[in-house]
Structures are given as C-alpha cells and as structure tokens.
Symmetry: D2
Subunit: 310 residues, 4 copies
Amino acid sequence: MKLTPDASGTFAIAPTPFFDDGRIDYESIDRLTDFYGKVGCNGVTVLGILGEAPKLEGNESLEVATRFIKRNPKLQIIVGVSAPGFASMRSLAQASMDAGAAAVMIAPPPHLRTDDQITSYFKQAAEAIGDDIPWVLQDYPLTLTVVMTPAVIRKIVMDSKSCVMLKHEDWPGLEKISTLRNWQKDGSLRPMSILTGNGALFLDFEMERGADGAMTGYAFPELLIDVVTKIKKGDRDGAHDIFDAHLPLIRYEQQPGVGLSVRKYVLKKRGLLSSDAQRKPGSSMTAAARAEVDYLLSRVARTDKRAALK
Amino acid sequence: MKLTPDASGTFAIAPTPFFDDGRIDYESIDRLTDFYGKVGCNGVTVLGILGEAPKLEGNESLEVATRFIKRNPKLQIIVGVSAPGFASMRSLAQASMDAGAAAVMIAPPPHLRTDDQITSYFKQAAEAIGDDIPWVLQDYPLTLTVVMTPAVIRKIVMDSKSCVMLKHEDWPGLEKISTLRNWQKDGSLRPMSILTGNGALFLDFEMERGADGAMTGYAFPELLIDVVTKIKKGDRDGAHDIFDAHLPLIRYEQQPGVGLSVRKYVLKKRGLLSSDAQRKPGSSMTAAARAEVDYLLSRVARTDKRAALK
Amino acid sequence: MKLTPDASGTFAIAPTPFFDDGRIDYESIDRLTDFYGKVGCNGVTVLGILGEAPKLEGNESLEVATRFIKRNPKLQIIVGVSAPGFASMRSLAQASMDAGAAAVMIAPPPHLRTDDQITSYFKQAAEAIGDDIPWVLQDYPLTLTVVMTPAVIRKIVMDSKSCVMLKHEDWPGLEKISTLRNWQKDGSLRPMSILTGNGALFLDFEMERGADGAMTGYAFPELLIDVVTKIKKGDRDGAHDIFDAHLPLIRYEQQPGVGLSVRKYVLKKRGLLSSDAQRKPGSSMTAAARAEVDYLLSRVARTDKRAALK
Amino acid sequence: MKLTPDASGTFAIAPTPFFDDGRIDYESIDRLTDFYGKVGCNGVTVLGILGEAPKLEGNESLEVATRFIKRNPKLQIIVGVSAPGFASMRSLAQASMDAGAAAVMIAPPPHLRTDDQITSYFKQAAEAIGDDIPWVLQDYPLTLTVVMTPAVIRKIVMDSKSCVMLKHEDWPGLEKISTLRNWQKDGSLRPMSILTGNGALFLDFEMERGADGAMTGYAFPELLIDVVTKIKKGDRDGAHDIFDAHLPLIRYEQQPGVGLSVRKYVLKKRGLLSSDAQRKPGSSMTAAARAEVDYLLSRVARTDKRAALK
C-alpha cells in the first residue's frame, strides 16, 4: 500500500503522545490510530513538526512510527524523516518502509536559500533514501523559512520520480496551487497529489483551487473530511458552512508555538490522549487559554455536535 | 488633541490611495477620512506598513499625513514615522505634529536582536523626536522579525514618558496582553493604552484579555467598532457572533503580502478608493482571488448587510 | 563620463563625513575627494551602506552626492540609490545623473528570497530609473541576507542592458567570480565589469579569479590600487606581499558594525575627516579598540610607510 | 579529569574523518588524536559544527566521541551534544561522560530570539543533562543566528554552576571579552574559562583582551598554541609576528561553508586524514581553490617550516 501520485482525501497529522514525565505513551498511539481510522481518515502522518520528532532519540522515532503502522494496516502511514544528515534520513526511511509505512516526508533544512540550493538538496535527499521509496515534499515557509516557487517545486518533482505528493502549506498559497494545477494541465508537470496543511486555515479555498485533500493536525479531522468531501461533491456552500463553524477554533489552533498545546488539550478532552504534556522543551497553556478553547468548543458545538466535549 | 495613555476605541489603519499610474490620489484620502469619521472610528493611523510608507518620497509623506489630518479635526491621526535614520524620523514627526497629528508611531528596524539593542533603539528614537511628542510602540514580529518580551516593552515604556500606546500585533500574543495588564495592576508598569492589530484575527480574545481597542486595516472598521463596543459592554456572545461572521474574510485579508491588495479591492468596491492600485513594487489579485473575496463578502452579507457590495 | 562595462581599477567607497553634532561636514567631503583623486582612484562610490545613506534625509542625499561629483570631474562617482520604493530610487538616480554622476548602485531589499523575486525586483528597478542610466548591481549577502546565484546574476544582467557592473561581495565568493568569467568566455553572459568589496579581505585572490578591480572602503585605498595594479602586471608575489602586510588591519576593519568606526578613526588620523562621528544611531570605539588599531597601524607601517600616522 | 573553570590553553576542534564513501574513518581519529597530543594541545573538542555532528546517526556519535576519548587519556575531550531535544542531549552527554569525556558543549538552537528564551533554554538544558556534568556554552551568532549579550551570558553562567567555559565566537567580539572580564573583576560574574573560536581570525587580540586560550579548528593547532603561549608570556610582538604569517591562510579557512573542506584538505596533506571527504550533504574544493591553498601554504612556510607540506 505504498503512496501514489493519485493519493487524496484526509491525512491526519498525529502528535506524539507523551506522559507527564516525558515517556512515550504507546497506548495513546493506539487510541489515536483507532480514532483516525474510525472517523474515516485515509492516512496518518507521524513524526512531523507537530509530532515533536526532533525531541525523539534515534530508536524512539522508529518505535513510534512502527506502533502507528502496525495498529491499522488499512491506514496509510507517512513518516517524517527530515534530518540534518542523509545517513539518519536514509536509515529511518528504510526502516519505516520495512515496517510497512506508505511513504516518507521530507522538509528542507532552514539554511537553504537559492533555487539551486533547494533543488540540489532534494535531489540528493531522494538519492539518499533510494528511488524505491515514495516521498512527500513539505513546503512550509512560515516555520521552515525556505521559500519554494512553483518552478522550484516542479523541478524537484521532475528530478525525482519517487516524489508523489506535495504537502502544501505556503502562506499565502492559493495561487501556488492554481499554478501547479495549470502546469499539470498543460503537461509541463507530471501528475502528483497535493494535500494542504497550514492548520486548515485555508482548506475551503485550497480545495476549490484543486488540492486533493487535507494533511494537517486540526483536532477535529472529521471537519477536514467534511470539507474535502463536500467540495469534491460540488457542495460549495455546505463546505463553507461547516468550515466557518470551526474557523474560530482552527484559527486559535494555528498560532505558532501555541498550537500544539491546544491540539493536545483538545485531543485529551476527546479522550484520545492520556496527557497533553509535551516533551521538553515544550509549551503549556494558561488557565485563561484553556477557558478560551473551552468557550470556542462550546460555540462550535452549537453547529457541530462532535465538538460538544466535557 | 494629543494622544494620551487612556486612548481607546478603534483606530483604522488607512492605506495610501494611488491612481493606476502611481500618483497619490488625494480625493480618495478625503473620502476615506470622511468614511472613518462617519462610521465612528476614534482615530486613523496613516503611513504604516499597510500604508506603503516606504514607497513615498520625503515630501509626499508629509503631504499625505497632512491631508488626513486637515480633513477632520475630530479624528486623532497617528503618523507612522519609522525610518532607518533618526534625522528623517525627527523631521517627519515634528512636521506631522505641527500639522496637527495626535501622535506618531515607531516600529523597530529589522536588525535588532537582543533586549538591549531593542530598548536602546527606542530610547534613542524617543530622544530624537523630542519628549513632547506622544508616540506609539509597534510590536509586530511576524513582519518586522523583532521579538519583544513583555519585560522589554515595560522597559521601553518606563524609559520614555511620551510612549503612550502599544500597538500590539505579536502572534501569538494573548498572554502578552495579560502579562502587561497584570503588571499595570501590581504597579510595576505605568498605565498605557493597548490597541491590537494583526488584521483583527484575534480581536475577540484580545479585547477579553484587556486590550483597549483595535488598530488595524480590516476593510470593515465597523466590525472592529462592533467587537470593541460589545466586549466593553459585556456582550461576549454578541461580540463573538458578529466577529465570527466576518472571520472568513478577516482571515483572507490577513495573508502576508496579499492582504493589502484585498483591502484595496474591498475599499474600492465600497466606493472609497478610486483605484486599488499599489505603487510599485506592489502585488495584484488574480481573477480567482477576486471571485473568492466576492464570495466571502456575499457570505458575510447574510449576517451583516454592510458587506452587501456590488 | 558614464560608467561602462569595461570599467576597472579602484573605486573607493566613501564614508559620509559628519560633525560631532550630526551635521554633514562638506569640507571633509572635499578633502576626501581630493585625496581619492590624488592617490589614483578611478572613481568613488558614495551613499553606500558604509556611507550611512539611510540616515540622510531626501535632500541631503542629493547634496552629498553632488558635492562629491562637482569637486573633481575626473573621478567617476557612483551614487547608491537603494530605497524601499521605486519613486525615491528614481528621483535620486535621475537627479544624481543630472548632476554628473557616472552611474548608480542598487542593492536588493532584504525580504527577497527566491530567484524569481530577485530577478523581478531588479527588472522593475531598472525600468524605474530608466534604461539610459548605467547601474551597478550590489551582491552582498552577509549584510543584505539576499543570496544570488551566478545564474540569477546572469539573468539580471541579461534582462537590463544598462547594468554595467557587479559589485561582488559574496562570502565565500571566489568560485562565483570564476563561474561568471567562464560564462563570459563561452558567450552566455555579456561583458560587464566586476569590482569586489568585502572590505578587501579576499582582494588578492579575487583579482586572480578575474575581477577588474576593487570597490571597498578600506582606509588605505592606496593598498587596493597596489594589489589591483600588481596582479594586473603579473606580479603575484608582490601583490600578496603588500596585501599581507595590510591584512591584519583589513581584517580588523571588516568587523560588522564596528568597521565604519574604525575606518572613520583612521581617516581622521590621516587628516581627511575632521570628526570620526557617525550620525545616530551609530557606534563608537573604546579606548582599547583605538589602541589596537594604533598598534596595527604601527605594524603595517614597518612595511608600508603610508601607514605611519601620528 | 573533568573540565574546570580555570581551564586554559588550546583545544583543537577536530573534524570527523570519513572515507570517500561516507563511512567513519576510525584510524584517522587515532592519528588526529595522537597529533593533537604531540603538538601540545590541552584538549580536543569533537562533534562540534565543524565535526559534521548532525550528519551522524545516534550510535555513531558516541562511537566517534569514545574513540577520541580512549585514545589518549591525557587529553581533555569535550563532546558537542547540541540537539533539538533534551532527551538526545542528555543521553549523549551522560554516555560521553561515562566514557571519560571532560565536558560537553551546548549551542543554542537557531529559533531563540529574546534574552528570556535564551537563558531559559540553557537553564533547562543544564537541568536535563544533570548538574554533575561540566558544560561549555557556545556563543556563535554568525552561524547559529542567536545573539547573546554579555548580560545574557552572565545570567546563564550564574544560573548553572556546572557551566565552566564560554566558547566565544561572536563577531565582533573583543568588547564582549573585556566586559565579561571586567565583571569577573568586580565580582558580579563568577570565574569561568573563555576560549575563543571564529577560526582564530582574532586570536591575537582576543588573548590580549583576556581570553584563556583558543578552541578552534585551524589546521595548524601549533599556531594557536604559539599565539596563546607568547601572549601569556608577554611577547606581544612575537605573538603577532607568527599570527600574521598565518593570517592569510586563517582567513581563507574561515570562509563559511568552504572552511571545512579547506581544513580537511590541509589535514590530509599533513598526513592526518586518509580522505578529505565530507559526509553528504557536503562541499568540495575546485582545482583553483586547492591551488590557492597550496600557494598560501608555501607563503606561510617561508616563516613557519611546519607549513611546508608536499
């Protein structure tokens, strides 16, 4: 079940569950995986930026990935393998694929600046992991500080046949989706999947511009699925209606640095995580922030009962 | 009518109107000013980042500021005077105050990094303009890349008695407001006004955390006034209801680099600008983006008739 | 005497002389200009980064440039016209040329990241000033944070016929010179002048790689002329001998943020500046730093008598 | 033989030797260690930025560190343990100390901006590794983009008793050394060692300002020892004479991104490394660059016979 260029739908970005003392909470991984499968996610992305991947030690990364992979063979698991060196990247990529992952995801290191530096990096990275491993290109300038034009993305994709998906989270990014889709129509870019991140803050229009689905960590993946499905069915107003009901919370979760603590807080309230702790160095929520999220949940719940949490 | 530390309410950030050929459109300045006054703004901030200030030549800056100032003596006009050198900053500040401005606004230059560099800069800047000119401290890390802790803001404020207001647009920033307000309660920070920017994306909670009002360029300042007023009256749900109705458009306008073109597009649709052109180098909207904004306006208009534009 | 693509030799970067109270010291401009001419500089670049250009007000910039230009018609004066907006850039460029400047110099604004952003910016800038004004492209990533590959430079040069010179101060940058020179040999890049900056820290090898000369602010332009001349005559060892004698001081002057105060200190010791003050915000030297420079001067003077200052 | 606050002398920064195919070359580690001991280094720092540490996999890091440690019990080995997460940092730190390391070195992650963020990070890091492990604070803004004022360094040092040394490589940095030394004199900062990096480009004056020695990777640690020793003996001119003879090569090695390839090239020429390869992604030297280094070596060798390599 390797990932292919026609992948679509909703891939949840999973946090890595920890106990309060920083140990990995494997049972919560199981609960999360079961939940993602039950609500209808097509896949799950693990060890991403949201997944606190850099805080894991070498063997832990593979153990976390494997736990997600083994729990539900029907879910496609994408494993984040970004690393400062290609040796670590290759070994985690190959071990993850051996364990049954569908693909790996690679983000650019922050020091890349010029178009050439970026395309060269990904060419080398793709060679390093081996051309039999499908991989996802992550384009996230706000956090990674690396800015890729559509032409750079095209060159990366055309240079490596095993690149099957773009995780798009440029901001602003709507025109980028349109440009890439136009290039696919005129044949200058081969087919590939585009899933969008950015905490879903623009999912409504990203789908209308031609995205294949969502890949982000919003604590209600059901909402992502709803929007993706409704837009694909042509129900524009319906998609925006449900999206807009969640937007106040989506916006709150999308705050840099704070978002992860909000997501873990909501996922804990949903009964999926036993603790909302982050491994150090991490952030936490004040009582005021928790009360704000509770208020937002209560407002979302007026429209969407799934947000009615205790 | 100089600005004082108890300023509150809504200050619109005004764009600078240009004709398609790049000339300044002074009649649109008049229309904008009349509009801001009519809807109930307490003041207007001109020559900010949104106002394309760096694209103006020396004499133009003062002419634009003066036009806003002279049009409606009841509106408090705050003039952005950020400049790489203190000579230009001082001359524009003094000339603006002579023309009748209520205050000036100063943003940190992007190269500042350490706490000491930041506090020293503002101490020198305040001395440069002279201690009889009230000034607004702009805290906008996303665009300016300068990160100020609450303690740094406190030191800047305590160092300069003429600093009367914080334009808060840190992101995330809610805890920063709470911290500053707590310091004012315990007496370690003197009173000062806090108005919030960030395109109003968090205005609902910023007001609840203790902000005195809004200072941003959202194309419906009426909405800012509504939220500010309702929160102050204790109508929490009412404030969030009207805020949430606008949030999809607020979010769309808040996109870096794109926001200004959206705002000018909407303000032109509202009959306030004769052209939505930016002076070069600028950005423009695609047909797809304009259609998206039109759609968002039509959705906002279901709740708020003021958004029903042709 | 407009600048042409075959320009070569040594262009001194001139500081802007101020009195201790921040006023411009025009008589020191005269002394500096006379000095540059007497020692054999081919030209002088004014209002560069070293020239504290952003601290000048609009009319001052032109007055400073004009004073340099009028003093010695035999010197080619290049005027830095970098500005956040094209309106200011154009007006200073055209007024400078009208006053007799040989060319203008343009640096990229710091927010540019992708190859497209960079090439588009310079295309627009060249159009803005008008295609009859020869201009110098400044490539200085250490300070400006904009990284241009050789291919980007080639595109900029091929897009604008009036771009006649590269001011090269990438670091590391030797391979960049070789690449550009190779492209000129194979015909894929048209002829243009390359002068190098970076405080002359690599002037020895930059000349060997094919640079046409030096354009930097080292307080002994005589040394720059010596190295440029000796390399061109094929006297490799001689060039390195005199270069190495100055290198300890060159290195000391090349410290970011500190360099300007060192240069003004030495130029004052040389009798060229009446004050070593910078306009605010500026930096100054401690007694320890001044003593270190004095010691370095005394050591250079063992080999080069021109460094024997009181 | 744990590192103490009165450490001084010369600590070489060791590269990690690789074969051309990317495997670690342990025999070259032995040769390097023997060499550092023979020439009189007081210690060796491994797994630093120069050591390509991020390219190693988890178990490799410890193996490399251990190989250096076990080879020569008389050399104090400092192990770089910088990591995005405290879990990895702690495990490498504790395992290295168990293997016999003298101390560990910690650099700040690049996202830190405010004084509070920086001091909090190091407080947490010191707690994470445990207060019985002496550690070295690395201050290297040029590469790490984190700027620490002297006051921040003082707070870090006063917060953690186990911080025994500052690896100083700020640029410019001479005044920082003077400030810290003055604070130690007036009692507001406890005693600690200061060794300086920056490729030795300012070692001459750093020693005069009060540094205890050198910690950098210049391919001739003998030169570092000479300068450190001569300054301590009061032989100022002698120190500068030998320093100046090497400065042209020191400067060439100090180029960002290129420096490591130059150092490995010279160390290979010295018979210490079997290959000058870097693990991917790495850089390499052109024939022109190699010829330039050969020329510089021949010039240094006129004064210092140790630089006469084949």
